[in-house]
Amino acid sequence: MRSDPRDYELIAPGNLRTVVELLSRSPGEWLPIAGGTDIMVQYAAGKLPSRKLVSVWNLPELRSIEVLPEEIRVGAGSTYTDIREHEVIAREFSMLARAASWTGGIANQNRGTIGGNIVNASPAADSLPALLAYDAQLILVSVRGERRIPYAAFHTGYKEMRLAPDELIKTISLPRKFSGYVCHSRKVGSRNAQAISKVCMAALGRVAVTGPSETIEDARIALGSVAPVPLRLGETERIVNGKIIDESLVRLARKIAIAEIKPIDDIRSTAKYRAAVAGNLVAEFLNLLADTKGMNRVLARWNNAPGDTAEAQILPCCGSKRWAHEMAVRRPFNDEAALILASDETWRNLDEADWIEAFNSHPRIGETKRQGETHNSDAWSRPEQEKVTETGNAAKIALAEGNRAYEEKFGRIFIVCATGKSAPEILEILQRRLRNDAANELQEAAEQQRQITQLRLRKWLQG
């Protein structure tokens, strides 16, 4: 039966101190509510045990993400949106950002919080295996002070946790020690959005080159929805660490993993299916590690190349030497997503002169000879302008005229992300942009170059 709002009381003190004092005055009486994505569901169904609620939504002390040299401190009141949009988390803890993007839909990501997800303690929560794999720690707060515990020790049984009735989770700390690790995360369910996982996994590890063969180092495998709590597969990890990955090891790991989990039959899936999927996911992760394709081969080689080689290799993707330098400095990157994020960030922070250098490395649209002498990006430009070069003479002439008018007005060549665009489309864009003022046009050209660079990076990684 639906709840009657008049039976409930919700207060919103607006600061953490008052909330914590309230929790300590009558422990267990007040239920903290953040974005309500779980509590309001129980409330609507008449299943909420508590009649008194205290809002912790949007408390400034809980909603910040602090990047420190050794760790990232994520306020427990940070939403999934806050997490997936945070550039450092997306780069260094990409499995957590991905899990955030799998949770609910956009509206739930705007309201659901990481702290709420932890105390709600669903064994199927998408973000919790990532916290396990990344060795997250929790900072709990009460009037008695703060204490820090490993997240791995927090959930002790189904919906049971080491949280005193007067305590709140304040911060989730992520240690920044996984650079160079290969990561692999998966959600297996009916669909990503609005569907709870049948099985989810977050796993990372390193391949060390010791002698002629590659062995696994520090595998960290965590699964959701296969036990009463999110589960780290300690036995499986012990079996694979220090070993060379081959078929027999993968077979053994699959067997141990299935023995380690305790899946159940429920409305979403069966124990048998979950066990099979869990085994498959572990095998998939090990195979990824084995051919180090979890880390793209091009990326892996580039990560290890000397600085000047790395700069020279990546330069044609953009054309700006400073961009290439900063990208090389920011290595290593775990995956394509991290590389692209860093590229976007670096590009936006460059000066106008760097942008112009990149623009000048392109041939005029409709031509195949570049302007500047910084390097050769002609090989990239040809397939990008493929649809343009199929064009008839009349359009070519119109383009050439447009280019001239553009160069006269703005003093540099016209940059457009040409991939997939036909000559008439480009002509239309060119004519529109001719009406821009200088400042707007610079921004627009830079945005086009950013897109071109992204496409080139993606192609580059494909080898």
Partner: protein, 168 residues
Amino acid sequence: MIHSSENHVKSEISFTVNGEQRVVRASSMERLLDVLRGQLGLTGAKEGCGEGECGSCSVLMNGSLVNSCLVPVLQAEDANIVTIEGLAQEAQLHALQEAFLECGGAQCGICTPGMILAAAHLLSKKPDPTLEEIREGLSGNLCRCTGYVQIFEAVARAVRRAEIASFS
């Protein structure tokens, strides 16, 4: 201690709805959805599932897409709320509304207000989304009529039109 319904005190909660300052008397745990529909007569937001799964009660709260069935009204205090009723400018429909009409993006209409607000939220963050981004932006909004294709087309059409408009 259980509060009895009889002596329950309602509080005054104020927020902005579609640009207008409003003050309501409500129990703090009343759902924003019920206050919008029941007290303010804004029936554009629909109750579908009532548990944050379907998106038909979507509204914008401080520019952020939320399911109003999961927002206790006290948490909307001082917020800036936009419902589907606030999207059109007088008689001029919003570009998304026009595009939904043209593409057949609305059939029975239950999901439509939420779909359009989810699309508006997406475009506020990504003015030039890819099809994949449109699909993800609307993935929390369920439609049982259209099969989604016309809805995605409508959003893409509104994007193209906005691009043309902003440069002409």
